[in-house]
Symmetry: D2
Subunit: 138 residues, 4 copies
């Protein structure tokens, strides 16, 4: 993680008071931690903008009663092995499944994999949570 350095920030006192109230509301231990989180969030947006290697989770909601669907979802993931890391499956009720696919790779490849899954008949919803490999985000 490297050494910790300190630097000082200047801020209008009213803005600092509003920030301190937000820190309490969100549950942060101190200002540094809240600021670190804000910085990391900006860096991660930039990784996705710039086409860097990123990580994320593709979330699928689907109906496992649809014949052949589960097999097709599995097959597509196998074809995308450089990006797909692992899959978790939750049985929501008698017919609805939630499946999370952990992925790593270029943002465009992840988006294209998500498109392929979303377009399958029986997949009700697909959503990507965009995060980072953490390599450049201390």
């Amino acid at each position: 993680m490297g050494q910790v350095v300190r630097f000082s920030v200047s801020l209008e006192s009213d803005l600092l008071s509003a920030f301190d109230r937000l820190i309490v509301a969100r549950g942060y231990a101190n200002r540094s931690e809240a600021i670190r989180d804000g910085i990391r969030r900006q860096l991660i947006s930039r990784e996705w903008e710039e086409g860097d290697e990123v990580a994320g989770v593709i979330t699928l909601l689907y109906d496992h009663h649809r014949p052949g669907l589960a097999e097709e979802i599995t097959e597509i993931q196998h074809q995308a092995i450089p990006q797909v890391i692992s899959t978790t499956h939750i049985h929501l009720d008698g017919s609805n499944c939630l499946e999370f696919i952990a992925v790593k790779g270029e943002g465009r490849a992840i988006q294209s994999l998500a498109d392929k899954l979303q377009s399958l008949k029986g997949v009700k919803h697909e959503e990507i949570a965009a995060t980072s490999t953490g390599k450049k985000i201390v």
Copy 2:
């Protein structure tokens, strides 16, 4: 704006280097300014979550050849006068108009006004830019 205060932040040196590169890429004068922007962005998200008075712009893309549409858009805005501040109209080409409606009020009322406009036949697209009245955001 009140007086300016200083406080110190501790950060891993690698994270600080990455942040410094981002500051250059985004064009900030210094770290304090970039941190202030991040703090304000979080405060404004919170204003919308909490149902505070907020400000924003509703952007409409529509076809002015649709009979009666421009009148209807105007009429709806007049009925929403506590929220609607002003309107700007851009002639994009022979048929496409861009209209920006500056609004102020509760997030829910703004969303409901935007829904009403979006659902009109001939309105091709509607988008809200969510910002703040700035009262609590120094």
Copy 3:
């Protein structure tokens, strides 16, 4: 606008009932209008993804008491004339201004202009409403 064509859609009856309730809640006149809006929204997302010419509004919240800020905001817009179409200014209260800049051009150029404005000292918030020139969106 070209001629209107009809095609038929098949849908589970429960999904159609839920959609019909949504149509009422959002205020649409009929299913076709609601479906047209959904299609246009997807096409516009794609225009931004693909780097096509797009349109939008950059919304700035700033404090006009900051010396030289209004001039700098104007200057930056003049330098970006191929993208900048017009500007509207709202006086929110004694110090807060809301400024909307109508823009047209490549998504990347618009983002870069927005970054430049956001990074100015005294600009409290910046937000882009992403829409379309409407040329390909009937």
Copy 4:
């Protein structure tokens, strides 16, 4: 799933052509499937707006070398058992972990759990993928 019904949609022919090109680009089998997906996406947004029971995934990126952090993340999840369904853990590299927490419950409770996790020292990033329990989304 109930029976399948058919209804017809009227659309400008140019808009239909643009939609057909989008369907090919996204990989949909036919128009009905693309329209069903658009409808479901709107219904799920509405479930989150209205405070219905929803489902989702909280994604955490964190550094497992931080003493006590993994235990604290586990402890918080145990305290949130009505919402937390299961957790998957990916070892990204020597220090970075990706953890996905499958959740079900009110949107507000999920947001508050995510805030609590995000604010922990050592959690680098947190993101929610918002989806549905699928109960009302056929």
